[in-house]
Every structure is written in C-alpha cells, then in structure tokens.
Symmetry: C3
Subunit: 131 residues, 3 copies
C-alpha cells in the first residue's frame, strides 16, 4: 500500500493529461513518505471505453480515483491528506471542468488487516538508486 486506481472515460484521452495526473498523485503520496513508504506506492490508470453516464445524452466524462491504504492511519490525517489529494485532482481538471460535463470523485478504503498479505523487493532497490 498505497494502491491508487484512476478510472477515466476515454473521451478524456485527448485533453485529460492522465499520465501527468498519475505523476501528481504519486508526488502527493511521496510527500508523506513517513506515512506511505515510497516503495509501496502503486498508482495506475484504467481507461474505460464502454459506459453510460447520467441521462446518456451528452459527451459526459468522469474520473474516479480509488485509494486503498493499510489500516491504522488516524481518521484526522486521512481526511486532511485525501482532501488535499482531491484538490490536486480538481486543479488538474479545473479548465475542463468549467467547460464540459465532468464528474470527479475520490474514495479511500482501508485494507482488512487480517486479509492482507505482501512482499516487496522494490524497497531494497530504492536504496541502491539512492531514493
């Protein structure tokens, strides 16, 4: 953890700059490497090509970010940190949001501690990179 999944409708490919959004989200997580170890950071996008939105009559679009984190971070921290992350999403799409129909959302979920298993060799590679 953290896992971060960015679903987006393919009518945003041309103007949405999703690769840059992934970079911004990753940077935000890295800014709190004390809480979210950098070696565990996994941000990815899933492009959607089959969808029906709202009344089905417009060129509507959406971006939905789902974050899964380990259990145990204080609620106050989570509310603050992810509100800031959502501001990053809103800023990224501010211009598009103002001129086309666009739904933005972000959901945070905690993994069940008893149902989590992991192994990660990225951590040690980071040391050799000096990260």
């Amino acid at each position: 953890v953290p896992h971060c999944i960015v679903e987006y409708t393919d009518n945003l490919v041309a103007e949405g700059a999703v690769p840059q959004l992934l970079q911004k989200l990753a940077s935000k997580f890295r800014s709190r490497g004390d809480v979210f170890p950098i070696g565990g950071l996994r941000v990815r996008a899933v492009r959607l090509s089959e969808y029906v939105l709202a009344d089905g009559l417009g060129d509507d679009a959406f971006v939905n970010v789902t974050v899964k984190i380990g259990a145990g971070r204080p609620l106050d921290f989570r509310k603050q940190f992810f509100a800031e992350m959502f501001e990053i999403v809103q800023e990224h799409f501010a211009e598009l949001f103002s001129r086309r129909p666009l739904a933005l959302s972000l959901y945070v979920e905690e993994a069940d501690k008893d149902g989590s298993f992991k192994a990660n060799s990225i951590h040690q590679w980071l040391k050799s990179r000096g990260s």
Copy 2:
C-alpha cells in the same frame, strides 16, 4: 455515486449484448432519480480476456456487477431496489443462461462517508439539456 461496474468475460461479446445491458441498468437507476441523482450515474463495462473459471474445462462465462453507492440509504430500500436490478440482469441473459454455463452476480457496496470526495459539473449541464 452511483458507480456501477459490469465485468464480463469476452466469450460473451458476440451474444451478450452488453451495451444494451448498460442501458438497462442506467434506466433502472434513473427510475429512482429521487434517491440516485441522475448526474451522478456512472455505469461502465470492463471486458476480461484472461480468466480461469470453475473446473477450467468448459466455455464458461460470467458477468459481475459491482455497485458503489453513498452511505445512508435504508437497508430495506437497498435490498428491494437491487433485487429488482438483479432481475433485470437475469432477464437480459435468460436465454443464454438456459443454454450455456454462465454465472451472474451483483454486489452492492457503500462508500465510506469519511473517505468520499466529489465534484461534478454534469448536474448543471443536465439542466441546460432539459434532463
């Protein structure tokens, strides 16, 4: 919200009429626009091409619908509404279900209120469309 994700195996592409299913699911949500604001409706499909099902020996198929809704709808409403939605899924696939191995499922999840962030310009566009 609502978010609605329809995963389906690609051996249903030819006969499954998934685009029509998405339309039917969207219509069902819209029928209760008092509970699920139409501007927040996001139904999408995800086609699967790598899978192993059941004993691995047949041309088995599945459709799995996952719905994420905001917290706070009464349990009785949810049970009734999504039972009706699942009937729509079953009716859509009734003929296929009777002649080939097919697993249908629908799961409803509530978003964590403290972990939900959203902004949506679709709502105001709906007004200009007269929806």
Copy 3:
C-alpha cells in the same frame, strides 16, 4: 464467489507467466471445493499499461491479487488458506522477485451478505462434464 482478480503491470508480460499463475490460483481454490464451490470460481487477470510506481525511476513491477468471498468463513480458516495462497504467488515469482523490483500483494474481502445477488448455471454443467 469466489472472485479473484489479478492486476499486473505489463512489464511482466514477457516473464511473469500470468496465465500459469491464474491456473495455480484456481487449483488452490479447487483444493477446498468443500468451502468454495467449484462452479463459483472466477479467476481473472487485468493487465495495466499506465502506472507510476515507487520513486518512478526504475522498471518496477507489481502483481496485486484481490479476492472476494462470501461472508461466513471462519477467520482462522481465511488466514490459513490465503497465507497458503500468497505462498503460491511468492513461489510463482520467486526468481523474478530476487532479480528485479517487484511488489506482490493479496487482499481478501468479504461480500456484504445483504448486498449479494447471484445465479449460476455453471454448477449444473459441471455435473454433465463429470467435474
């Protein structure tokens, strides 16, 4: 249920042998057909092509397995069974894990009983196959 989703980064396509991993995971579930009826087994993979991992500077990779099961299996069973399943994942990638940066994870979730709907004609087909 069970549903089992294997997300993997596309830099593992050449060496990750993901189709074989799906077979191994399916076999593990089938070994406890008394707990997880074989007709309900749905293992699939989702290949990711847009991602930012860790510090963003290496050819990092990940495999993330998410399992959704019905409610009601005892916690002790779950912890034991999915620890064994995760060992299968680790063994599958042992050689890659030792020589490249790779994050492996497995999460288990229980479906909400009141939000689960299903119908499955695979079960009866299994009988005709002798499975």
